[in-house]
Point group: C2
Chain length 234, copies 2
Amino acid sequence: MAKKAVVLLSGGLDSATVAAIASSRGFETYALSFSYGQRHSSELEAARRVAGQVGTTDHKIVPIDLRAFGASALTDDIEVPKGRAAEEMAEGIPVTYVPARNTIFLSFALAWAEVLGSSDIFIGVNALDYSGYPDCRPEFIEAYQVMARLATKAGVEGDEALTIHAPLIDLTKAQIIEQGVELGVDYGLTVSCYDADDAGQACGECDSCVLRRKGFEEAGVDDPTHYRELAGTA
Amino acid sequence: MAKKAVVLLSGGLDSATVAAIASSRGFETYALSFSYGQRHSSELEAARRVAGQVGTTDHKIVPIDLRAFGASALTDDIEVPKGRAAEEMAEGIPVTYVPARNTIFLSFALAWAEVLGSSDIFIGVNALDYSGYPDCRPEFIEAYQVMARLATKAGVEGDEALTIHAPLIDLTKAQIIEQGVELGVDYGLTVSCYDADDAGQACGECDSCVLRRKGFEEAGVDDPTHYRELAGTA
């Protein structure tokens, strides 16, 4: 019987790649998405499509209410930065940062893993392209794994198997795309844009769109992203 | 201006005591409860009453869906063990264990703390009376704190102030009650029973009721618990 893995699946490029990587390593994958008051709910539609394409065994979408605490452009009515603002943002912690988001997402993944009897959780964090997010750093993932091993029945029973896999953590966006293309990921199904419309069409200008487009260029792969206008592809 | 603290408040005896302790240490308290498909929803009513009595600055009840993953007597239709079963249960990990519950609760507390600009989170875990729960052990709390410092903006900026306070961790139930009584906690407002009815009346027989009653006896404090029957008070 294949080993089970819980895969955090946002519907974006990175997590789609991670789901394909988990499958390629022989895991039976259980995809987990969250409905957390995203402005870009088309992300969840993308997550459903990706889960289908990758062939996950199960896909759960758990509603959580991060809006209760406010304070991020991704869930509040703060303007998503574009162009120069997006570039400046890359220097510090982005205003699109959602407090403790990965901590919360991993905690739900841990709960599901424990119920499934799984010791493997996959997350698509990336330290290079998103260095502004504290919870995307390798030291965060390592500390989370240490904590998670103590948090569960398996840990009490001396099982040190629980592993937080972050296979993209040191890759550039171009390397991620190259790996995904090799594994047959259809990036046309994914939505990365912070400001996508209901049809999942990307703005082409936000931080996430800029990084994504640059990745396709550097990988020498045709960009299958659905943009809602031809914004400065020059 | 008083420092802010987020306090996890279940409506039970332990967390009510913790809220009073946080206040007594000079913190402005922000109480956080969860609606997670508990069978004993009267716990949330108790949390509201306790938040009022202790004088919290704000009290949020966040809905989360742990039932999505199943696997615990507190959220499923598994029979809550009583009498002998409860005693046997104390030897191992209780069937009332909810996977990753404290990990999830602390993660939401961390998100709120970050938004509030607070570096202090209080949780009423107790290693002595609940040794069966992996996420009530001191080593879990310590590992959580290490992870949490890396998870947030403050950690990135080199601020090591974030602290997970677990002031009850080494106390017996009797010592907790003694401390709460000194601080003026009205335990008649709290509900600890795993199988309380809608009016918040306790069964008197479950693991939690047995521990609680024993605590009042050992502390020499009149038990203000509302039991729905006189079950073996001898």
